[in-house]
């Protein structure tokens, strides 16, 4: 994370803590599948910056590691991705996935 000089009085939280504040009911089947091969040829990597849940992780060999579990089901990734076929996107099975509490 980039460091921003600031005078704040709240604790910085790690991304794991941040995502840990949301409830995800995880289904065994992935509702979003990312095709690593297609990503290998992608230099722009929009998903890596934009996914609010930070689920797209570049790997050292130029691929993308994706884990569907802590997903907000927002749709940002398939909208920003420019490569046809890189992301197959659907909603999780009814009753599973993100459950908001105080939003």
């Amino acid at each position: 994370m980039t460091s921003i000089a600031r005078d704040t009085s709240w604790p910085e939280i790690s991304f794991e803590e941040r995502i840990g504040t949301a409830e995800f009911r995880i289904h065994e089947r992935a509702h979003i599948v990312v095709d690593g091969d297609t990503c290998r040829g992608c230099s722009t990597r929009e998903c890596v910056v934009a996914c609010p849940a930070n689920l797209f992780v570049p790997t050292s060999d130029g691929g993308i590691l994706f884990n569907y579990e802590n997903c907000f089901e927002c749709g940002t990734c398939y909208m920003v991705c420019n490569k046809e076929g890189a992301i197959s996107w659907s909603y999780p099975e009814g009753g599973f996935g993100i459950v908001f509490h105080r939003t």
Partner: protein, 259 residues
């Protein structure tokens, strides 16, 4: 005869309400086994001791295929033995009673044992595998020290299963639509059922341990955790039930688990 699934309505976080409540993965497995183990013509009954909100879990069970749903209106602080008594009072002619091994909240897994005692039938608890056959079932129990016990269940019994043993079937859309108007029988449980009210958070009792001996850190960790020494202090004894109970208590005391 009937097959019963006992479901516990649990609210995972203290400041949550019924919208976020549900039944544990273990209870879902129990419900699935109840549905699978029923023979043609046999009733499958889902029972839940809980508040009105818990009727949602019962409707979900109806949608999955149970033939009857009973809610027992009971003080949510009731002890395991009181819950077992209340459930025993509504369960008749039970051939198999399926429970989750541990509930989502701080469960001890003791309710199924109490229930078997109240119903006067056999028990096979802490199951990690279940094979259902026509006449008898073969089940695998998890024991200490990574050991397993294989049990054949033929007579009436209470069975408690762990969460990963079965995946609850997805209710059909027709089932869900019909369950909306299904009747839920409501039985009022006994009113004074709170044996002990323990409002403190659960903490295991502290045990004094000698500093581990060993040359390397790994050895010391091993000696602390018993890891790798599967047969450390195990023996198999055959005793009649009262003597077995006495032996368990004395052994637990010896190992420092009881005060």
């Amino acid at each position: 005869m009937t097959v019963v699934a006992c479901l516990k309505w649990v609210t995972p976080r203290a400041d949550d309400d019924d919208r976020f409540a549900g039944i544990s993965a273990a209870d879902q497995s129990a419900l699935e086994f109840a549905l699978q183990s029923a023979q043609p013509g046999e009733d499958v009954v889902a029972v839940c001791a809980g508040p009105v909100g818990a009727e949602r879990a019962l409707r979900d069970a109806v949608a999955c295929g149970v033939t009857r749903a009973v809610r027992i209106d009971l003080d949510p602080r009731a002890s395991s033995s009181a819950v077992a008594s209340a459930i025993a009072s509504v369960v008749t002619e039970a051939r198999l009673v399926w429970c989750g091994d541990y509930s989502l909240d701080r469960g001890t897994g003791s309710m199924p044992g109490f229930l078997a005692a109240r119903l006067g039938i056999g028990q096979a608890l802490g199951l990690i595998d279940v094979t259902i056959a026509h006449d008898a079932m073969t089940v695998v129990r998890r024991l200490d020290g990574a050991r397993r016990e294989i049990v054949r269940v033929s007579g009436p019994a209470v069975l408690s299963v762990e969460g990963s043993t079965a995946r609850l079937r997805r209710a059909s859309l027709r089932g869900v639509l019909a369950a909306d108007t299904a009747t839920i029988d409501v039985v009022t449980g006994p009113s004074s059922v709170v044996d002990t009210v323990d409002e403190k958070p659960f903490r295991p009792r502290a045990r004094a341990l000698a500093a581990p001996a060993g040359a390397s850190a790994l050895d010391r960790v091993r000696s602390l955790t018993d890891a790798g020494s599967v047969t450390a202090r195990s023996e198999t004894v055959v005793l009649d039930p009262p003597a077995a109970a006495a032996r368990i208590v004395s052994t637990l005391r010896e190992w420092g688990y009881l005060g």
